[in-house]
Symmetry: D2
Subunit: 383 residues, 4 copies
Amino acid sequence: MPKPLRIALIGSKFMGRAHSNAWLKVGKFFDLPRQPIMQVAAAREAADLEAFASRWGWGRWTTDWRAAATADDVDLVDVGTPNHIHRDQALAALEAGKHVACEKPLAGTLDHAREMMQAARPAAGKTFVWFNYRRVPAVAFAHQLVREGRLGRIYHVRAQYLQSWGGPETPLLWRFRKGQAGTGAHGDLNAHIVDMARFVTGDEITEVTGAIAETFVKERPLPDDPKRTGRSTVDDAVLFLARFKGGAVASFEATRLATGYRNRNRLEVHGERGAISFDFSRMNELAVYDATGEGRTAGWTTVDVTREADGHPYAGHWWPESHGLGYEHGFVNQAADTVRAISRRRPVVPLPDFADAYETQRVLEAALISAKERAPVKLSRVR
Amino acid sequence: MPKPLRIALIGSKFMGRAHSNAWLKVGKFFDLPRQPIMQVAAAREAADLEAFASRWGWGRWTTDWRAAATADDVDLVDVGTPNHIHRDQALAALEAGKHVACEKPLAGTLDHAREMMQAARPAAGKTFVWFNYRRVPAVAFAHQLVREGRLGRIYHVRAQYLQSWGGPETPLLWRFRKGQAGTGAHGDLNAHIVDMARFVTGDEITEVTGAIAETFVKERPLPDDPKRTGRSTVDDAVLFLARFKGGAVASFEATRLATGYRNRNRLEVHGERGAISFDFSRMNELAVYDATGEGRTAGWTTVDVTREADGHPYAGHWWPESHGLGYEHGFVNQAADTVRAISRRRPVVPLPDFADAYETQRVLEAALISAKERAPVKLSRVR
Amino acid sequence: MPKPLRIALIGSKFMGRAHSNAWLKVGKFFDLPRQPIMQVAAAREAADLEAFASRWGWGRWTTDWRAAATADDVDLVDVGTPNHIHRDQALAALEAGKHVACEKPLAGTLDHAREMMQAARPAAGKTFVWFNYRRVPAVAFAHQLVREGRLGRIYHVRAQYLQSWGGPETPLLWRFRKGQAGTGAHGDLNAHIVDMARFVTGDEITEVTGAIAETFVKERPLPDDPKRTGRSTVDDAVLFLARFKGGAVASFEATRLATGYRNRNRLEVHGERGAISFDFSRMNELAVYDATGEGRTAGWTTVDVTREADGHPYAGHWWPESHGLGYEHGFVNQAADTVRAISRRRPVVPLPDFADAYETQRVLEAALISAKERAPVKLSRVR
Amino acid sequence: MPKPLRIALIGSKFMGRAHSNAWLKVGKFFDLPRQPIMQVAAAREAADLEAFASRWGWGRWTTDWRAAATADDVDLVDVGTPNHIHRDQALAALEAGKHVACEKPLAGTLDHAREMMQAARPAAGKTFVWFNYRRVPAVAFAHQLVREGRLGRIYHVRAQYLQSWGGPETPLLWRFRKGQAGTGAHGDLNAHIVDMARFVTGDEITEVTGAIAETFVKERPLPDDPKRTGRSTVDDAVLFLARFKGGAVASFEATRLATGYRNRNRLEVHGERGAISFDFSRMNELAVYDATGEGRTAGWTTVDVTREADGHPYAGHWWPESHGLGYEHGFVNQAADTVRAISRRRPVVPLPDFADAYETQRVLEAALISAKERAPVKLSRVR
């Protein structure tokens, strides 16, 4: 029987649910060096929390997140709350010597993110950030191919995260208020694709060359009084151009108003020797182009990244080949790698820690500055 | 706290695992009228069974399936074993007054299937068959559209289940031995698409008009002694043509030698008013053609069947729109409907019981007879 | 200046137009050993014919097809008329020592086809049949790959030609009258896919194992008096199963009632070493699966068959890579190969002559017999 | 017999060929108010020109373009030469009172383009620019849908023209020398997608907010002496962000180094009521999303834009539905509309004249300035 890894979860909404499911399943599908124990769940409102904790099998529950995050019988604190409180919760947990797994983006502001990164450096606990798309097998496979040199020198990165729920009829939810949300599509969606682009290429962005932040819908109906409207104070869409250290040029686009696309997360990377194309709506597939083989049969190959026998990442833990996975499996895969990493085992593909996620946050900040100042922004300036 | 529903699972291999996962998750994602309890797991070999039961959280384990199937503290017996023992296990459970959920196909032979169907009729327990593809949301949605008359009179059904693991290098596993497997691709794969075709159209096959059963690879290496070979006694592929009562004509194809397709389950149905096309490799999508709207923008529409707000089946229990599901979710959806049906609640879409699955078995039998006799076979003859 | 090749075209409708366009363009895009001269156009009705001939640049026109087909100043007779008069026109032309290029299918009946095949054997002129899909570059490329052994032993052939214009509202055109049309979807559409399957595999069908011929819409409005209806005497759809000499099993389906598909011509061939998949709606692409390479990146590769540098068939005669071709280009490619063959040059891929097209006609006939007799039909019986 | 329209073509390379084919075919497929006469072809080198003119049926040929452009027996001068000589040729023709149809982009520099635009204003002849993609039926259809308000207020435009022939092994052709080519991918490819974006949206760009112009391959082998290299003086890729007057935000990308894409021209436009997505590699299809209909069956609809009965643009002139067109047909469609416009008939969709193409040129110039100055550039500044 492996040693237990006792977990405190903070947050009981969408991410609370996605993380609970991950902790529930991970031990069933992976042979782990430590056994995850769903020790305690914390959230603000008692009402739903009891039902949530009971449903998912959390050992106990509390509305005092700090108590949960610092409890003696907890090893890992899983932060699944809104961005503006990541810092306080993570810092408390690190201070208490816990490992911390924090939802993305690292924080609501760059200042917070910096503090977290700095606190993580000397801490006893390890840190992790739930950039779940890294562990969609097709994205992990893309990373592996690039790392092996299969794309050669990289020329182009093209990343888009397109949603469409932000039409004029959508009310002024907290997500449209800067005070609570920090940003709009940018922190929510660009965070994912900036991380993915960094992860897949293994390279770092050195400059944001131009950016647009746009709020198409400036007034929205108030949730409680739809006849009146209030002002949206976040972006609906942020687009930016960037340069990578290795010479690649890139474009990023995040929006809540790409009618037709509900949750379209696309990444294309073109290199001298090949290219990859990923679309989350067909998440079990990676399109691969090999420029080094026979020209006559060259083309985009749709690889079903589900085959244990072919060494596809994570495939051996799940179902037979071409019996596809879904959105939730990225979280389970990340839970498995998190447990491994805590036990000094190597994750299947690199895990983002606070320092790593801070780099993504710097890119997001640079894009906001670029949009505001209407000028290119070197990353070296954003610290 | 709802009344418990205590489950005995028989079988610990691929399906044992898929069912365990379903019972583990179902209560987390669905509000159920009874609470599933993973009471006891049974399988032949003690060695692996203990680890299996412990991993999945089964309350106890036994190598005596009969003891499990008839135990006083069991309400539902879940049969996840090979086809040739479905009958004995299901009959024992029904006799003991249990509900029974049996893996597909219903049985290894039509005689067994008939006995099971007959035993189910007067039994106190309800019966279910795990035709999991009915509960892939896109397939359930196709069923709903047809039932509402959105396709009108149906002309064509085209169903294929294409795999490719059965090449000449594949050894003579039990799946290639008639004594154990009954048939090859036919019972394994055609069972699924015959059920899907019946389910989506809501219609019954009245005749198999022609059939080919082919064993391409007649000799295979012995698993234990690959230098020697043995004779495969099952089909590698079965194709057949059929007619439906409502007038549609149909083709079915199942094979283990469709190089390039690992697990491609496709169904197309064309009617007077519209058409649907499903491909399991893109399981979150249903292609829908509406022949009644504006001609100028008519075409195949790719519907992401993931939207609670739009009433897509099962969508409200899972993740936000376009955060797709995987293979395993069909089983969880079926587990939920099974629990509901036991409590006399209506399943989201119809559940197959033994009588229903017997109809599918009759079609499979008719195809085998047709291939052997080289003649059309009316279904009225196969009982 | 190469020697002229003087052409007489018979027919001025859809095919008359497609062939005229081919003869007009072929010398512009191909360097030919003889120069096609559009000498004379013949058709039944004088009214339109003059405008047709003038528009396309035919040197003269006549309503006497026999005069055109036997004129001294004609070298090649191009038969673009309905099926039931192919025989008379082809025989007259062959007797006059002309080369003959005949629209598909070879004839309206097997008897006619046999006569034509027999007449062609001793004739001075060469014969050709316009199975234009052979010269869609993707299909030609599929043929080349199979011939080179890239698929190895072939297991499966799956061919469909799906149209949808034959709904109940479509009037009783001549195409629905057996006397004029011979058959319905069968001769029109199955002719194409049987030829394609034979061409791509390089193999011959030895048996039709089962067949369905269905007339869904039995009564149709009369073209001239839509309040009254008349009886359709042809099939709306014909499906059949078949076996190839080399051991492959096959399914064919042609229909005018596949709602949603306007002109969907699909062919899939699976072999031991690889597979190909073609869909005419994306005619510049061939999907290729190579089972012999690296497993990890194996998948269906979408090959844009447009690259001269990679030796794709016909690519060098047209536009730069990935500047796609359309439906009409198959005819131009065939016109080029026809001129070459007349000059004893090798066509890019094999051209069907009357003997070859007679084999396709035998398969069509066997399917009709099988549907009628409700029994398998060996091809050896159909002569 | 309609009045003739006598044409002088200048240029005998790729575009000379594409235009010749258009003039050859246009009268065969369209009923035109004037009859195009292929009067004279001009080009620099006599050697190939004679063969070219003879092959395509040009009445005479000359190496003196000015003589051709100003000849008394010429009505329309078709300029198919490299960008840096468009101005001289167009001005000479306009001065001689001819109509002028000029290849895109309008000119090699903004100064040239301005002169041409200014010369066109008072001229007797009409002007046209061969932005052929406007007349790919799917693009024309997208334009129509937007114009009818089917997309409502437009939020996003996303345009990419991706090629991959510019790898390091490609020699230092004239296309990589600024003196001859002006720019690299920018003028060649962005010209097309800027025009398409303006055409489809019916809106104008008011600002380039950021831009990257990159030359990945700085030294290339000399064509005549591949052991030595020379410096490439043009961009390999240009990306830029932009804003439209109507409020939409946009991204544009053109590159010769997008490995895997040979000629991928993609445009997506998202509006409040719907969206369209076009990919030239599947040029007969337009993906349309309608946000105003039934939610349950909402999704991207693949419309085969080939149906005369449904009023698809240009469809009635070509082949039956779903018998697709190719690259060359955009040119033929444009030739037809050009002839119509000269006779004061309305083109199917708007034709770009010099004034219109000058607007595209201003956008291209603004992007270059933005890349160079590393700052946003208002279009009002670029004149």
